[in-house]
């Protein structure tokens, strides 16, 4: 059973990546915008086809890939992220002097990897997808070859990423050793035996998987790479990996742990409980002390991974659907916040500290309003999507009986309020000292901001529809 | 029994290799209208033995700044793979050491290790000429190994096996050289480059690099490199015979004789080329490899696959 046609969206993304590579050979000065346009068209086309796959529930390639609602939801999310990243990048990479055609190609290839992270139903598929996306993002992180920081970032990411892949692979090997198969379905079947649940080799494998995924979604104590890598990478790439890689890793994380390792819940829930608590407290506390806005957003990204873990611990109906909901909101608001950083940032790393935002509101009121919206949403203030997401997560935790964790989460959010509001204070309460932008806000970046802003508000006002979709996505996992 | 076979095979090969040096000198001499070695024995027939004795008793010099262990190890690394691969070469229908399923893969993977001997010899000598020779040879051997591997996929597809005996049996009717002329040509070129023979002998281009990677070697260690080179020539020839020329098969004469005749013809071709062709430049070598041979190899595989699927 190969069913190649089910993979049409992925194939479109891949072919777009290759077309972009070839089009870059055109001897034409304006070709870079053409490349971006082709990239956006490809992802949007793939997005439309992906949406048509809702409720399909099929398998392809002998059970290696599943086209279920879960993967459709995530694939749509990744394609949106990819489109927005390309829109934000057009102007930025020209300014930064890194407008090679390979940039878009690698973004598309990474998206290709993301998509299989969500749809892979075999540990081998998931591992390969993870490697594809990691390799593409390692290169993207080091794309500014003249900047030592970018080099440092790529190198750190590569070394630690390879290290974490080894953990994941070792975990897979352990599980293969006791089950004799890497397919998630077969592993689930193996776990239906009573004796299997106590097999120490299997448990060790599960632990190693947890470490591997933990690295990729950046939860404490596997977060060490995050601030440096986020700070050094080109900001568009930071945005892309802060949302894309995180969401993709969570997709695979959820499929493996919620579906396959469900019978072992008693073993992994306490561990995740602890990780979630540490991640929320640590991420939010350290974010306060950051002067660089990219580093601050990096620590905030760590904290947000902690909130999602809270929902994973809760594990009930509301909890699992709120994860998917929250990942969508998180992607939109984080991309938006990074979008503003991208627009304000100048060459030679100027305008990247938080105090540089002094008086932005008096020069660019719309931009500041958008930034405030995204920051308020990240902090979880109504009527934004971030508030609704957090509300669902914490109420899921309470109804699941994890009141302690919910309290830690709320306290964490309260701390977070401080460092998010600080930027708003800088933007509105001080007088501007300089010109921020060399020209008007670039069109494509503005378009991306408008899309993310509308999304963030809409998700805050009418969450029911998306939550229902999220519910249908995750409750059919594996059926 | 197996041990006796091993001793016989090793002895014969060593002898053949020794006389190959004699043959090379004689043939090239005659190609260039000279007469070659004449002093030791009748028409110089005992020359290889005299050479061997000389190399054995010569002073063995290890340069002061050399990495001693690696310096000593390199000739061994070079020689051992060249001889170990004979384990799976069927000299006739019944005379072979091991009949394993992955014979050809075994030959390729073991002979791929010879490059370490060369590159490490170049490095451990701590001499510029040797190092440059080692680098050149590593780049050349890695590149041409790929083409060597790719060029034999065609015949392997026809044979449907990696087993050397089965490959020869599959050529009972028609030799694969008829079906796979392109693959044969590619294999031959890659094989010559793989053994660092003229016109691809850049690693030891004496005008630029003195003697390449073995500049600093003397005595028996030097002899090892020499033996390895000739043993590798025989391996490449034997593989060509097995893959393209029907191995031991042939009318009237016993199999082992046919095998020897075919291998001998290849060895003569190697020497003939050395007497005839000039050396390529380094960039030419790489261009031929990657821009001409590699696409042709892929084309051959694709064509073989299509034709096999449609007609056989």
């Amino acid at each position: 059973m190969i069913n190649l046609s089910l993979l049409t969206p992925e194939i479109i993304v891949l072919i777009t990546a290759l077309i972009v590579l070839i089009l870059d050979l055109l001897p034409w000065r304006g070709r870079k915008v053409l490349l971006a346009t082709v990239g956006v068209l490809g992802t949007v086309g793939a997005l439309l086809i992906t949406m048509g796959q809702w409720d399909l529930r099929e398998e392809a390639f002998y059970g290696m890939v599943a086209i279920d609602n879960f993967s459709v939801y995530f694939k749509a999310l990744f394609l949106i992220i990819c489109t927005l990243t390309i829109l934000l990048s057009i102007n930025y990479i020209t300014r930064g002097g890194i407008d090679l055609g390979e940039y878009y190609s690698l973004v598309l290839l990474a998206t290709f990897g993301y998509m299989f992270m969500a749809s892979g139903t075999d540990l081998i598929t998931i591992f390969l997808a993870l490697e594809i996306l990691s390799l593409a993002v390692y290169i993207l992180a080091g794309f500014m070859r003249h900047s030592p920081k970018s080099n440092e970032s790529a190198f750190k990411y590569f070394l630690l990423g390879a290290f974490s892949s080894a953990f994941l692979l070792y975990g897979i090997a352990n599980i293969y050793g006791v089950v004799g198969n890497t397919n998630l379905k077969d592993i689930a079947q193996y776990l239906s035996q009573e004796a299997a649940l106590k097999n120490p080799l299997f448990l060790a494998g599960m632990g190693l998987l947890l470490v591997g995924f933990g690295f990729k979604v950046a939860i404490v104590p596997f977060h060490m790479w995050t601030p440096d890598v986020y700070e050094g990478s080109p900001t568009t790439v930071t945005a892309f990996m802060a949302v894309g890689t995180k969401a993709a890793s969570f997709a695979a994380f959820l499929r493996v742990f919620f579906y396959t390792l469900e019978p072992l819940k008693g073993q992994w829930v306490p561990v995740l409980w602890l990780l979630a608590a540490v991640t929320i407290i640590f991420g939010n506390t350290v974010a306060i002390y950051q002067k660089n806005i990219k580093r601050m957003l990096a620590y905030s990204a760590i904290a947000h991974a902690g909130y999602i873990l809270v929902a994973m611990v809760a594990g009930n109906d509301l909890g699992s659907s709120s994860i998917l909901y929250y990942l969508l909101v998180y992607s939109l608001m984080n991309l938006g916040a990074f979008g503003v950083v991208i627009i304000v940032e100048k060459k030679e790393e100027e305008n990247l500290t938080i105090s540089d935002y002094r008086g932005l509101a008096y020069k660019h009121p719309m931009l500041s309003a958008a930034m405030s919206l995204f920051l308020l949403s990240l902090a979880g203030i109504p009527p934004t999507g971030g508030f609704v997401g957090k509300f669902y997560i914490f109420s899921a935790a309470v109804s699941g009986g994890y009141v302690g964790l919910a309290i830690i989460g709320v306290l964490g959010s309260a701390i977070a309020l401080y460092y998010y509001l600080r930027i708003i204070v800088y933007m509105y309460m001080y007088d501007p000292e300089k010109e921020f932008l060399d020209g008007p806000v670039p069109f494509f970046s503005a378009a991306a901001l408008v899309i993310t802003a509308i999304g963030t508000i809409l998700l805050g006002i009418t969450p029911a529809r998306i939550l229902e979709l999220a519910h249908y996505s995750i409750s059919y996992l594996g059926h | 029994m197996v041990l006796v076979k091993i001793i016989i095979i090793l002895g014969v090969i060593l002898l053949v290799v020794a006389y190959l040096t004699y043959l090379e000198r004689k043939v090239i001499a005659h190609l260039q209208v000279r007469i070659g070695p004449m002093r030791v024995g009748w028409h110089g027939l005992l020359q290889p033995i005299a050479d061997g004795l000389k190399l054995l008793v010569k002073e063995d010099i290890i340069p002061e700044k050399a990495d001693k262990w690696v310096f000593i190890l390199s000739p061994i690394i070079c020689l051992v793979p060249a001889f170990v691969v004979y384990a799976v070469i069927p000299f006739s229908q019944h005379f072979y050491l091991a009949n394993i399923n992955i014979g050809i893969l075994y030959i390729i993977s073991i002979s791929a290790l010879g490059v370490y001997g060369i590159v490490l010899a170049g490095w451990s000598s701590n001499s510029k000429y040797a190092l440059l020779g080692g680098f050149r040879s590593a780049a050349q051997m890695i590149s041409y190994e790929i083409f060597l591997g790719f060029s034999i996929i065609g015949p392997l597809m026809l044979a449907g096996s990696l087993n050397t005996l089965k490959i020869v049996e599959a050529q009972s009717g028609v030799w694969f050289i008829i079906y796979q002329p392109l693959a044969f040509a590619l294999y031959l070129i890659a094989g010559i480059a793989e053994t660092n023979r003229i016109p691809f002998d850049l690693p030891e281009a004496e005008t630029e690099l003195v003697a390449g990677f073995h500049t600093e070697y003397s005595g028996m260690k030097f002899a090892f490199f020499f033996l390895a080179e000739y043993a590798n020539m025989m391996v490449v020839s034997s593989m060509a015979v097995i893959l393209f020329l029907g191995g031991w098969k042939g009318p009237f004469l016993p199999g082992i004789v046919w095998f020897a005749i075919k291998v001998g013809a290849f060895l003569f071709l190697f020497i003939w080329l050395r007497g005839t062709l000039p050396r390529y430049r380094y960039d030419q070598l790489m261009r031929i490899g990657w821009k001409i041979m590699f696409p042709l190899c892929l084309l051959n595989i694709a064509l073989t696959g299509i034709i096999y699927y449609l007609f056989l």
């Binding site: 190969i2 891949l14 390639f61 002998y62 290696m64 890939v65 002097g97 890194i98 407008d99 090679l100 390979e102 190609s105 690698l106 290839l109 990897g113 299989f116 075999d122 081998i124 598929t125 390969l128 490697e131 594809i132 390799l135 593409a136 390692y138 290169i139 080091g142 794309f143 050793g177 006791v178 004799g180 004796a195 299997a196 097999n199 120490p200 080799l201 299997f202 | 990495d67 262990w69 690696v70 394993i100 399923n101 992955i102 893969l105 075994y106 390729i108 993977s109 073991i110 791929a112 290790l113 370490y116 590159v119 490490l120 490095w123 080692g134 680098f135 590593a138 780049a139 890695i142 990696l162």
Partner: protein, 170 residues
Amino acid sequence: MHQIFFWGFALLAVFSALMVITRRNVVHSALFLISTFFWVAAIYILLEAELLAAIQILVYAGAIMVLIVFTILLIHVEETKIINPWQRQRPIAILLGVFLLGEIFLILSRALFPESIAGTALQQVAQEGNTEAVGKLLYTKYLFPFEVASILLLAAMIGAIVMAKREIEK
């Protein structure tokens, strides 16, 4: 007989691996790494997985390590400069290492391995041979990973080209 060979190969593999990380000269480390691959390949042969053994030598010892050795020689980093990479963490590192090793032993000694796996694989190999069995699996059940791996290589290739490309001229 099998047991003796296995322990011999295994000990040699572990010894070589230890030498890889303790040698100060990078070229020596690389050589020991090659030898590690060899002994592991020998263990594959004991397990009657001769195709895997050949590929292990061809790919790791014959291709990847050649490139690594080549790179080491090109960029001249033969001697590692750092005298003590441990700083003051050595006791903690040793303690953790011993602890982890003990844990691995404990886990392995209590692990339950299903007996059926090894049996089925060997049966299949006995029926049609190593190469055929692997080939069939690669082109049926594992077709997808097999093909996707090529995209992984494509991404790596693009990356290598980007990193090696000259700077854009202004």
